[in-house]
Amino acid sequence: MTLPVSTVLLEPFAEEPTVSVLRLYGDIGLEAITRISALVDDLVEKKRFHLLVDLSQVNFLSSPVVGALMGCRERLMRRSGSIALLAPKPELAEKLNLMGVNLVFPYYSNKNAFLRHFRWEYQSESRSLTLEVPAYAGYVPAIRRLIAGLLLSKGYTPREAFQLESIVDELSNNAIEHGLPIDKKFSISFSFDKSSIHLAVANGCKTLSSEAQERIREKFRNPCIIPGSMRGRGIALVKKIASDMTFRVDAQRVQVSITKMREES
């Protein structure tokens, strides 16, 4: 198929049915505005509020078209929709950046990057991390930093990231120091979405008697802070920071899990 110099097409997005793709080709000037606006009006009427504008085949995008896209953005966002730009050529991206377009529209270099963001943002897709780590305290700072970074990269606040760091620190050091894992390893399971964080730290251990198991459970239920001592504060701190803490103590395994709900922004 040979396309005219300037072409505007609307297509469904095969990988994500709730998203439509506005595919632009060539030099997009004033003459395209009416068509773009009409297509977006049609989308709104059909209650399809997510639009990806494919710029990969565009050489030039005039300022009035950028203005029209801003108008489309307003219409879609008023209905909890979204609009994003896909794969502008480097020269075009540079010009758009000079106009400040990158401050208004998110850009994605490829479909996969867009899909990852879209599913996280609009479909509550979660992210996960599982670590199996040698029981060596030297790794704990690296784990803290990793988990904090993952949260920050998805829009959690520095405060929330720091709180999780504190929890990771306490539970990991507990697993290493008190758990005395027989296989010299401990594990961390971490998952989060836009609204909550789940973390579990587990370690294997030498076979615990029923009494020993109960003593550990009691420490988790009623952490005892000895006045003047720096010891024993970890679980109390975790309980204070987390929205919920649960634990499971078996004969050869101890696991502590927390949930933290996202703070209101």
């Binding site: 996969n112 996960s128 670590l131 790794y139 784990i143």
Partner: protein, 93 residues
């Protein structure tokens, strides 16, 4: 350096995580006694392993194994099906 140790990481494929994964490998290398230059090399190798995989595996889980041996770090990356995507080695001083 201590006896060989392995860290196993299963992580969602997401390009925004890459800087923190790189940093983790670098921090772990330092914790295992690598000098800062070798830790930086480990970071670079992690970046090269992941950046391709994250692009071609849009969703799902990637597994990174970091095996620290005396003066050596072996990095292996697997996809969700357990297929090996790539390996790298960094000499640690």
């Amino acid at each position: 350096m201590m006896e060989p140790q392995t860290i196993r990481m299963d992580i969602s494929s997401d390009d925004v995580f890459l800087p923190y994964i790189r940093q983790f490998v670098s921090d772990s290398s330092l914790a295992m006694g690598f000098d800062p230059r070798s830790a930086s090399l480990a970071e670079v190798e992690t970046n090269s392993l992941f950046s391709y995989a994250i692009d071609v595996i849009p969703s799902g889980i990637l597994r990174l194994e970091c095996r620290f041996e005396p003066s050596l770090l072996r990095l292996s990356l697997f996809d969700e099906g357990g297929n090996l995507c790539g390996t790298r080695e960094v000499v640690g001083l």
